[in-house]
């Protein structure tokens, strides 16, 4: 078994006294597109927030490689997150900045690159996601799909080793969602990035996932893990029902 690049050990997530999910164990290997799936409100995005340190676990820990992220101090956490890119559900682009400025900010903050070189990298990253020529646009001048692409360009600005994506196809029409899925696959292949996707979109799960984890909101546990196509056919009832409900006959 390859060494996990990121994962969680015996993780329990809670809001105050309300436990959302307990005793989660996840090991994500390099190069995977690992999908966290489940119904609305089961704790998928909360898990992502825990993995990014935006929320602290009730118990258990998050780890990156062989280091504990949960027990790490602020500077160690910052170092670990330097290898991480995140595409948020609502893109989370800074609306007062142009697309070029959005993508340039991490480069300005975390590299010693000259402005000219930053400009070149920004143009390349925007070209990678199909937004060449849109450098001087503001986010609110773009469609939802284009904002997602721009968010992706910002997420890969620093060539991350791990890319977290929260609901990639949320608020996108199916063809735009599938185009974004293809783009994620291509970025993964081109950058050799490990991708962690949180979604309930069945087409996305089957289209790009190499391994998937099903979170069951009722039992507050993960009840299945494996290649999505296999889970769809031979997973537990709740998982098969989830897949069946997502695809019209």
């Amino acid at each position: 078994m390859a060494e996990a690049i990121v994962g969680v050990r015996d993780l329990t997530m809670a809001f105050g006294d309300r436990v959302v999910m307990e005793h989660l164990d996840i090991r994500i290997e390099p190069g995977e597109i690992y999908v966290v799936m489940g119904g609305s409100g089961c704790g998928k995005s909360t898990l992502l927030r825990h993995m990014l340190g935006l929320q602290e676990p009730a118990s258990g820990e998050v780890f990156y490689g062989d280091e504990s992220f949960t027990r790490a101090g602020a500077s160690d956490r910052e170092r670990m997150l330097r290898h991480v890119g995140v595409l948020y559900q609502g893109s989370a682009l800074w609306t007062s900045m142009t697309l070029a400025e959005n993508v340039a900010l991490p480069l300005q903050q975390f590299t010693q690159l000259r402005p000219g070189r930053i400009r070149e990298v920004v143009e390349l990253k925007l070209a990678l996601v199909g937004l060449h020529g849109f450098e001087e646009y503001y986010p609110w001048e773009l469609s939802g799909g284009m904002q997602k692409r721009a968010g992706l360009a910002r997420a890969i600005a620093l060539d991350p080793e791990i890319l977290f994506i929260d609901e990639p196809s949320a608020s996108l029409d199916p063809p735009t969602g599938r185009r974004l899925d293809r783009l994620i696959l291509e970025i993964r292949d081109a950058l050799h990035t490990t991708v962690v996707v949180v979604t309930h979109d069945v087409a996305c799960i089957l289209g790009i996932g190499t391994r998937a984890l099903f979170l069951d909101g009722e039992s507050r546990r993960s009840i299945a893990e494996g290649p999505p196509a296999e889970l769809r056919v031979s997973g537990p009832d709740a998982v098969r029902a989830f897949f069946a409900g997502g695809i019209l006959p």
Binding site: T95, L124, G133
Partner: protein, 382 residues
């Protein structure tokens, strides 16, 4: 791709040589990582300017490590050579880099509209002038719509929720009492100090109660209260409405067929217009008490005597005049706050801008109105 363990690799370098006269061979060596000082494609471009070539052969087998830094270099070189009609062969380019380059070429969106023009100084000035004209027209429209909304409210046909109005009345009035009381009490003290200091030179410091009373009741209480409200309620209204624009709540009202002006602006204008006079009545009392605090301590005047003197000097006309002014100021604060909020663009930065502009515009509007009131009251001998 770049990893932390690769930090000690040889730095990036380019070697160039000619092969067969018409081919420039470009060999890349070392670690090509963004964080390092990378040679720019301009080095190769200068060599091609010095002596052109029909083909460039790019050799990357000696590249020890790379990330987007190499992609930027190769992409720049390919773009330059394509523009010059120079063929490029790259027999040993890493597969992942090939895929990235292919992605750059193929993933462009089909309908990439030209970016909006930002232009030079004159162009920007012109755009600003046109935008200002648009804003003036929008402001006129806003005042018109609000007037219509208010008239619809008077005949009971305006669409807004009664409970919203209740909450707004509470927020604009009772909740503002402590700060209004404090500020006006202090203003009363300041006026009394200034009055005593100046009047004492003429032996007329006994009249400080008259001066403080008249100044507070006629103007100062209304003016100071309105300025406090501009910073408190005006900014809050602007931020609320701007946020509602960002989160498309205003669009949701429009698509339901509900006028945002009727639903959001009218109740706020009504709330502040109604509550400001009540606040000012209270502010009058606090201002007079502030003056009395100074008068009784510095001049040893009895409190009852001070208050009686104030009551004799202040007329009912002064009180009514102050209340009329305060209602006007309240309406202005609400109008400027809500207008700035609804003018905001759909960005989070605009929420802050709207709040700031609401305060500034509100205070300017109050001061202008105050000046006009003084002139009109003077004309009518008030």
């Amino acid at each position: 791709m770049a990893k932390e363990g690769a930090a000690a690799l040889a730095p990036a370098a380019i070697e160039m040589s000619r092969a067969g006269g018409s081919t420039l061979v470009v060999r890349l060596r070392g670690a090509w990582r963004l964080a390092d000082d990378l040679p720019p494609p301009a080095d190769v471009e200068r060599e091609l300017d010095r002596e052109s070539a029909a083909m460039v052969r790019l050799e990357t087998s000696a590249v020890a490590d790379w990330d987007s830094g190499l992609v930027v270099f190769v992409f720049g070189l390919l773009t330059f050579c394509r523009a010059r009609g120079i063929a490029v062969e790259h027999p040993d380019l890493p597969g992942t880099l090939e895929r990235m380059l292919a992605l750059v070429q193929t993933s462009a969106l089909p309908a990439a509209a030209p970016p909006p023009l930002r232009g030079g100084l004159l162009e920007r000035l012109g755009r600003r002038a046109l935008a200002r004209r648009k804003k003036v027209l929008a402001a006129s429209l806003f005042v018109g719509e609000t007037t219509l909304g208010l008239s619809r409210m008077l005949v009971g046909r305006a669409r807004f929720r009664g409970q919203d109005l209740g909450l707004l009345l509470e927020g604009a009035g009772p909740s503002a009492l402590p700060i209004v009381a404090l500020v006006n009490f202090l203003v009363g003290i300041i006026l009394a100090f200034v009055g005593i200091t100046q009047l004492r030179r003429f032996g007329a410091d006994y009249y400080v109660a008259d001066i403080v009373g008249i100044a507070v009741v006629r103007d100062m209480a209304a003016l100071i209260t309105a300025i406090v409200l501009a910073g408190r309620s005006g900014a809050a209204y602007a931020a609320q409405l701007a946020t509602m624009k960002v989160t498309q709540e205003v669009d949701a009202l429009r698509t339901l067929g509900i006028s945002p002006v009727e639903f959001l602006v009218v109740p706020r204008v009504v709330a502040l217009t109604l509550m400001t006079p009540f606040l000012v009545l209270f502010a009058d009392l606090m201002g007079v008490l502030g003056g009395a605090a100074v008068g009784t301590t510095m001049m040893n005047q009895a409190l009852a005597s001070y208050l009686r003197q104030t009551a004799n000097s202040v007329t009912t006309g002064d009180i009514i005049g102050g209340l009329v002014k305060s209602a006007t100021y309240g309406a202005l604060v609400a109008l400027t706050g809500t207008a700035r909020g609804l003018q905001a663009e759909r960005s989070s930065e605009q929420v802050g801008v709207a709040a700031t502009q609401a305060v500034v515009t509100g205070i300017v509007a109050i001061i202008i109105a105050c000046g006009l009131f003084q002139y009109v009251f003077f004309l009518f001998g008030f």
